[in-house]
């Protein structure tokens, strides 16, 4: 089983300023075109596609979710069902790049699950990506029980133990 973190999304009232910031300072490049505006879309550092989404009613501004590209989605969903039966899974919205399924972990952080063969995985998300001098190297989550959350990502997505501090 292979799972890679390939996506991060935030909501903002200032889409253009935010995209300008991440492109100018970190060298991120556009990899998708929005279904309703070809001048907008996700930007990438070569590994992670960042969705800078316009904030809508009921959505708070800020970091919203991240996402995994997996090679065996049935295996991932089976693991969640067996080991974490209370976990909710829903389908992603139509026309939204990358988001095939949405779920969450024990601390409540939400993530998309996707795979390359799915039609919603478009344009730059299909590519292997590239290396560049400034790239996202970590995403931090808060949890009252970090052990449970680490176990979840290991059991469900096969993430390996990293450096413990």
């Amino acid at each position: 089983m292979s799972a890679k973190i390939r996506h991060l999304a935030l909501y903002t009232e200032h889409q253009d300023e935010m995209v300008n910031f991440y492109q100018n300072v970190f060298g991120m490049k556009r990899i998708t075109r929005s279904f309703n505006d070809p001048n907008k879309g996700h930007i990438s550092d070569g590994v992670i596609g960042l969705a800078v989404l316009k904030r809508r009613p009921s959505f708070a501004a800020g970091l919203d979710h991240f996402g995994f590209e997996v090679d065996d989605v049935e295996n991932v969903l089976d693991r969640m069902k067996q080991k974490y039966p209370k976990t909710l899974v829903t389908k992603g919205l139509e026309q939204v790049a990358f988001a095939v399924f949405r779920s969450h972990e024990p601390a409540g952080a939400q993530f998309d699950i996707s795979w390359k063969e799915h039609p919603k995985v478009q344009e730059g998300y299909k590519d292997e990506g590239w290396k560049q001098p400034r790239q996202i190297n970590h995403i931090a989550i808060r949890a009252s029980e970090p052990e449970r959350v680490a176990e979840f990502y290991h059991e469900v997505f096969g993430l390996k133990e990293g450096k413990n501090f």
């Binding site: 790239q135 989550i141 949890a143 680490a150 290991h154 450096k163 413990n164």
Partner: protein, 115 residues
């Protein structure tokens, strides 16, 4: 891997799992600040080729686009608490916020991992 049964792991304030390229840091909630009490996504961070060059890029961006200049996380009533909280990230070496106030941090890439 059994974080839940490792006595040693229970003493860590941050655990890390990784896909080999991107780390998920799982930080224990604390009552140090409102931010650190909240479960869920906390912040993200970039590895950069040079902290000094990245800081220069930030300054140049702020000069060119003052309306979108990154905010000072240490400002305001809660600023020093937010900064302390971000300083507690075991990876980040320099913390800031983006134009919308989302906190992020930078760490200098190790020479062996240079892009």
């Amino acid at each position: 891997m059994r974080f839940s049964v490792s006595r040693k792991a229970k003493t860590f304030d941050t655990l890390c799992v990784t896909d080999g390229a991107v780390d998920l840091l799982i930080r224990r909630t604390t009552n140090h600040s409102y931010m650190s009490m909240r479960q869920g996504l906390d912040h993200f961070g970039f590895a950069v080729e040079s902290l000094e060059d990245a800081k220069r890029s930030l300054a140049e961006f702020a000069a060119s686009f003052p309306q979108a200049a990154p905010k000072d996380i240490a400002g305001g009533v809660f600023g020093h608490i937010t900064k302390e909280d971000m300083d507690g990230c075991r990876v980040g070496q320099y913390s800031l916020s983006d134009p919308d106030g989302i906190v992020l941090d930078l760490s200098q890439r190790e020479a062996s991992h240079s892009a």
